[in-house]
């Protein structure tokens, strides 16, 4: 497989769009948890019932009456190879839980990968909409229209006082988790984030690394999401989250400006060293790769590094995860082989970028 083709397969089409505030916000996501009234929740149900749910989905839910979404494809976990499943997790299209604990798990995936509806995960349906940049309302309205479309055909487990009934009481009510993925290198570098996180927590919001609770943020990427799902409307939850994220964005921008004003040469040094590592290393672990990619992306955003596209951080962070590396190699790899492959892939990607820039310049002449 050629690298270019591999990348185009690996990067979800929605990621190529540049949304609002894309210098800091990588993506916005809204997820609804929904259950069917007449079935036991997946955690206690048997394979037979889960299969019935899947059949119901297959017969009713592939033609979405919405132009932005297009066709949905039903993919059953039992039909996939382990590496293929891993790749879907690394793209944030399914949860690790769907692979590990679900009986007859499946996902309905839209062509542009904006929409993924997990089936038989912790809840019968997990409707997820991912969009580029800071666009929570867009993600919400898309999730709402899909939700309405599904509800036309099936009976949801809903209670007047408790709202949408979910397997875990932490999701009950709206069943909604809204989150924003942020790249915050300057707040980390200036050690301000440690003070900001407790304040955000007090507002009923959660900050975590891009891979869930307790994980350190790889590549200075953080996820902020709502904790409370009961007693507030969807719009209120989104607005609260938006307000807080807006402030974090302003603080990150201020920290970036301060770094440029006060320690420009140190910042340049850090960024160019990172670029040097990425361009030249022959063995690189994921943690170091993520750190360097974050530095280079900061350099691009500040206009210090030219001729590289902004999407490089998002793209390479996904591409250099174990599942993708092994898919690219077409074989399973030992950890050391992975570190070598990762270094090669990054170098090739940067060279590809060089060629692309030259081609564009050639076209313009």
């Amino acid at each position: 497989m050629s690298l270019q083709h591999f990348i185009s397969e690996a990067v979800s089409p929605w990621m190529k769009n540049e949304g609002p505030d894309s210098d800091i916000v990588m993506s916005s996501r809204v997820r609804f948890a929904r259950n069917l009234k007449n079935y036991v929740f997946p955690i206690l149900s048997n394979r037979e019932h889960n299969l019935e749910v899947i059949e119901e989905v297959r017969s009713q839910f592939t033609d979405v009456p919405d132009d932005q979404v297009g066709q949905l494809e039903l993919i059953e976990m039992d039909d996939l190879k382990p590496i293929e499943k891993r790749v879907l997790v690394e793209k944030h299209l399914i949860s690790p839980n769907l692979i590990e604990h679900s009986k007859n798990g499946a996902v309905l995936l839209s062509e542009n990968e904006t929409v993924s509806i997990m089936i038989n995960e912790e809840d019968h349906f997990r409707i997820q909409c991912l969009v580029a940049g800071f666009e929570l309302k867009k993600a919400l309205s898309l999730a709402n229209s899909l939700d309405n479309w599904i509800e036309e055909k099936v009976d949801y487990a809903f209670d007047e006082r408790k709202g949408y009934l979910t397997s875990c009481p932490t999701n009950v009510g709206t069943g909604m988790r809204a989150s924003v993925m942020l790249h915050l290198p300057a707040l980390v570098l200036t050690q301000q984030l440690n003070h900001i996180i407790p304040a955000i927590n007090q507002l009923g919001l959660v900050v975590r690394g891009s891979y869930g609770e307790g994980s350190e943020a790889l590549g200075n990427i953080f996820q902020i999401s709502n904790q409370i799902t009961l007693g507030k409307t969807e719009d209120d939850i989104i607005e609260d989250l938006q307000g807080v994220v807006r402030q974090v964005i302003e603080k990150e921008r201020a920290a970036r400006r301060a770094l440029l004003d006060n320690s420009r040469i140190e910042l340049e040094d850090r960024i160019y060293r990172a670029l040097g590592v990425l361009q030249n290393s022959r063995i690189i672990q994921s943690k170091e790769a993520a750190k360097c990619l974050s530095d280079v992306r900061l350099g691009i955003d500040l206009g210090l590094v030219k001729g590289l596209s902004k999407s490089i951080l998002n793209e390479l962070l996904i591409l250099t995860q174990p599942g993708f590396l092994q898919q690219y190699a077409g074989a399973s790899l030992t950890p050391t082989e992975r570190d070598i492959k990762r270094a090669t892939l990054i170098r090739e990607r940067l060279e590809l970028e060089d060629q692309l820039t030259k081609n564009v310049e050639g076209d313009e002449q």
Partner: protein, 178 residues
């Protein structure tokens, strides 16, 4: 770097745990990680459910005396899926929609803890299943609006709102009667 557990294979998994601001780092190889139950990134080995079941156990007294342990906790279970409250406190999840009714008397204190004091849904209502609920909620909103108008002596607006409420109520009762 070699694995902290076996000291043989190279460490490929690097965990940083931050608990109450205290940072601990672990470097281990994949084999030991699997044996230890530490998992690959992206999987929540210590999930919200573990935390939740901690919250749910608040009924069990700490340092239970021997005399009390003769007392057998009442076993209530859900008629639809068979889940017992004991099981629920372990897995932190309900088995079906009926569980919310079965364990309703124990539910509100938990919900308050998790959802910032809230126990009642005020968000979206499914269109088809909730048409009646939707009307009821609209009426309630209008009633409180009407009160405001009266307090501010805007009687014309109050009267308009009252008419709106009547139309809505007629609509819901006629639909219910069919």
């Amino acid at each position: 770097m070699t694995c902290q557990e076996c000291g043989e294979r190279p460490a490929t998994l690097h965990f940083t745990k931050i608990i109450n601001g205290e940072k601990t780092e672990t470097h281990i190889c994949e084999k030991c990680a699997k044996e230890k139950g530490e998992v690959e990134p992206g999987t929540n080995h210590f999930s919200i459910h573990n935390l939740l079941s901690g919250l749910l156990n608040f009924e069990t007294p700490i340092g239970e005396s021997p005399a009390q342990s003769y007392y057998k906790p009442e076993i209530s279970h859900c008629p639809k899926c068979g889940l017992t409250y004991q099981q629920f406190t372990k897995i932190g999840r309900f088995g079906c929609s009926e569980c919310y009714k079965t364990f309703s008397d124990k539910l509100d204190p938990i919900l308050k803890k998790v959802h910032g004091g809230n126990t009642v849904h005020s968000g979206k209502i499914p269109k088809r299943a909730g048409a009646a609920i939707e009307i009821e909620r609209k009426v309630q909103n209008l009633r409180s609006k009407m009160k405001e108008y009266i307090e501010h002596e805007e009687f014309e607006k109050a009267a308009e709102t009252r008419d709106l409420i009547r139309t809505l109520e007629d609509k819901s009762s006629s639909e219910g009667g069919e």
